[in-house]
C-alpha cells in the first residue's frame, strides 16, 4: 500500500558510497538525513575506499563519495567526477587489545616486545600508512605477525584472540565495543588520517548530494561523528 503523500512527493533515492570504516556512523546519519528530508531514501554502499573509487570511475550511479583518505578521493577528482572535496573528519591510531588489556600494554614502544603477537594494517592502506609513519618518527621497529588489508581484518585477529594487540583507528576501537580495549598513545598525533567527502558530478541527484555533504559538515552530524570516536577536520 502506497501512502497518499508518496504520490505527491515521489521517493527519491540518494546513493552514498562510503569507506567501510564509516559504516556504523553513516548508517545512523543517513537515517537522520532521511528524517529531515521526507521522500528521500539514502542508499548506502560500503567498501574499501579504493574499490569504491574505481567503481565510481567506471560509472557507478553514486551521488556522494566519502573516502577514508585524500589520495583515493584525488583519483576521483582527477577523473573529473568531483570537485572541491571537503574534509569532514579525522582519526588517530589506538592500540586495540583483548578486553582488559591482559598483556599490560601501555605505550607504542611496548608493541616491539618480541613475545607479543601484533597485527597491523599494511602500509598500502591508510591505517597502515599511519602506522609506518609513526614507526619512522619514533624509531621503534615493529615485528607484526601479519600486515592486514583492512581495519576489520586487524580487529578480527584481536577479537578472536589470535593476536595480543593491533593498531587501528580510535573510531574502530569504539565501534568494536566490549570486544576490545583501546589504548591511546601519544605518538599517534603524528599521523592523523583525514576523511574527505564530495558530491559527484554525474550522480543522478546533484541537489540532494550537495545537501547531504552540507549535512555531514553540519553541527548535528559532526556531533555524531565525535560520539563515534572521530575527530573534527584539522
Amino acid at each position: 500500500t502506497v501512502p497518499a503523500t508518496a504520490a505527491a512527493e515521489p521517493t527519491r533515492t540518494l546513493t552514498v558510497f562510503a569507506a567501510a570504516s564509516l559504516g556504523g556512523t553513516f548508517t545512523a546519519l543517513a537515517a537522520a538525513f532521511e528524517a529531515a528530508h521526507p521522500g528521500v531514501r539514502v542508499s548506502l554502499v560500503f567498501d574499501g575506499s579504493s574499490g569504491l573509487a574505481s567503481q565510481i570511475v567506471e560509472g557507478a550511479p553514486a551521488d556522494v563519495f566519502a573516502a577514508a583518505n585524500l589520495v583515493t578521493m584525488q583519483s576521483v577528482v582527477d577523473a573529473g567526477l568531483a570537485d572541491k572535496p571537503e574534509t569532514f573528519a579525522s582519526n588517530v591510531l589506538e592500540i586495540a587489545t583483548a578486553p582488559g588489556n591482559p598483556a599490560g600494554i601501555s605505550s607504542f614502544a611496548d608493541l616491539a616486545d618480541p613475545g607479543l603477537v601484533l597485527v597491523v594494517c599494511a602500509p598500502e592502506v591508510p591505517c597502515g600508512a599511519a602506522t609506518a609513519a609513526i614507526e619512522t618518527a619514533t624509531g621503534v621497529a615493529l615485528r607484526p605477525a601479519s600486515e592486514e588489508n583492512s581495519v576489520t581484518d586487524v580487529l578480527g585477529k584481536v577479537t578472536s584472540g589470535e593476536a595480543d594487540a593491533g593498531l587501528v583507528y580510535a573510531s574502530d576501537v569504539l565501534s568494536a565495543g566490549d570486544a576490545v580495549t583501546g589504548i591511546p598513545f601519544r605518538e599517534a598525533e603524528g599521523a592523523v588520517g583525514e576523511y574527505p567527502i564530495a558530491a559527484l558530478r554525474e550522480g543522478p541527484q546533484p541537489a540532494l548530494a550537495a545537501a547531504f555533504v552540507e549535512f555531514i559538515l553540519g553541527t548535528e552530524a559532526q556531533a555524531q561523528l565525535a560520539a563515534a570516536g572521530f575527530r573534527p577536520a584539522p
Binding site: G23, V45, F46, S54, E58, G59, A60, T152, T159, S175
Partner: protein
C-alpha cells in the same frame, strides 16, 4: 547389506584419508555452529535487509545456474567432441576465472561492460547499463561459476564415450536428436554435479559481485555481501548470517544431488 559392501571392496586404509578429509571440512563448520547464538540468528533473519539479501541470493544463484548450464553444457561438449587447433589454449582460458581472485574478475567485467569498457561504450549508446544492476550480479556469478560446468561436462562426456552416439546416428537420429536423447541423458551425473557446483559457487560469490555490481540493498546486495557488511560492525552477526547460507546450501544440495545408484550388470 554389509556383505555386498565388502564385495564392493575398497581397501580399509582408504577410509583413513577419507575421514581426515571429512573432518577437515566438517569440524570448522561445527566450530562456526558452536559460536553462533540461535536467538540472534532469528532476530537477524527477521531484518528486512537480511531477507532482501537472502531472497536476492536465491534468485540470482538460480538464474546464474540456468545460464551456466545453457552456456556451459554446449561448451563442455564442444571441448569433449570437436577436434580443432588451439583447443587446449581455449580450455585454459575458460578456466581462468577459477584462478582469478574474484575481485579481479569483477574488475575485468567492469572493464568490459562498464561505462568506459570495451563493450560498455557501445551498450551505453544503446541505452543499456549493466553494472550495478541485478543482471550484473548474475553476470558476475556466471563468470566465476561457468568453468565448473564446462569442466564437469567435458569430463563426463569423454568418459561416456561416443559409441552410443554412433549407433544412434546409424538408426537415423539427427545430431540434435542424438544430443537430446542419447548424449545428454548419458551425462546426467555430470549435469547434476555441474549444476550443484555452479549453484553453490554462485550462492557464495562475493568479490566479483562487489566490484562489478556494487552493493545496493535489494538490487545487488546478496547474502555474502550482506555478511561482509555486517562483519564490519559485528563479527558474530556475520557468522550467524553465514549459518543461514550453510543451512540453505546443505538443504539444497542434499535434496538435489542424489546420484542414481550404480547399474548392476551381470559381467
Amino acid at each position: 547389506m554389509s556383505r555386498r559392501d565388502r564385495a564392493a571392496g575398497l581397501p580399509g586404509w582408504l577410509y583413513v584419508p577419507a575421514v581426515i578429509g571429512l573432518l577437515l571440512v566438517t569440524i570448522p563448520l561445527l566450530a562456526l555452529v558452536l559460536r553462533a547464538d540461535p536467538a540472534r540468528l532469528w532476530s537477524l533473519l527477521t531484518l528486512p535487509s537480511s531477507q532482501d539479501a537472502l531472497w536476492l541470493s536465491l534468485r540470482t544463484a538460480a538464474a546464474s545456474t540456468v545460464v551456466c548450464l545453457v552456456l556451459g553444457v554446449p561448451l563442455g561438449l564442444v571441448f569433449a567432441r570437436a577436434r580443432f587447433a588451439g583447443r587446449n589454449v581455449l580450455r585454459a582460458l575458460v578456466l581462468v576465472p577459477l584462478v582469478l581472485p574474484p575481485v579481479v574478475g569483477g574488475i575485468a567485467l567492469l572493464y568490459t561492460f562498464g561505462r568506459r569498457g570495451l563493450l560498455g561504450q557501445a551498450l551505453d549508446v544503446a541505452g543499456i547499463h549493466l553494472p550495478f544492476t541485478t543482471i550484473a550480479v548474475v553476470m558476475a556469478q556466471v563468470f566465476v561459476s561457468l568453468p565448473f560446468v564446462v569442466l564437469g561436462i567435458e569430463g563426463t562426456a569423454r568418459s561416456a564415450g561416443e559409441r552410443f552416439e554412433g549407433i544412434a546416428a546409424t538408426l537415423g537420429a539427427s545430431p540434435s536428436r542424438v544430443l537430446l536423447r542419447v548424449t545428454l541423458p548419458l551425462i546426467v551425473p555430470g549435469l547434476v554435479s555441474g549444476a550443484v557446483m555452479a549453484f553453490a559457487r554462485s550462492l557464495g560469490e562475493f568479490g566479483a559481485t562487489l566490484a562489478f555490481a556494487g552493493s545496493l540493498q535489494g538490487v545487488t546486495r546478496t547474502l555474502p555481501l550482506q555478511i561482509y557488511l555486517v562483519r564490519e560492525s559485528d563479527a558474530d552477526a556475520a557468522v550467524a548470517l553465514a549459518l543461514v547460507l550453510i543451512v540453505l546450501a546443505i538443504a539444497g544440495v542434499a535434496l538435489a544431488y542424489r546420484p542414481a545408484p550404480p547399474r548392476r550388470e551381470t559381467p
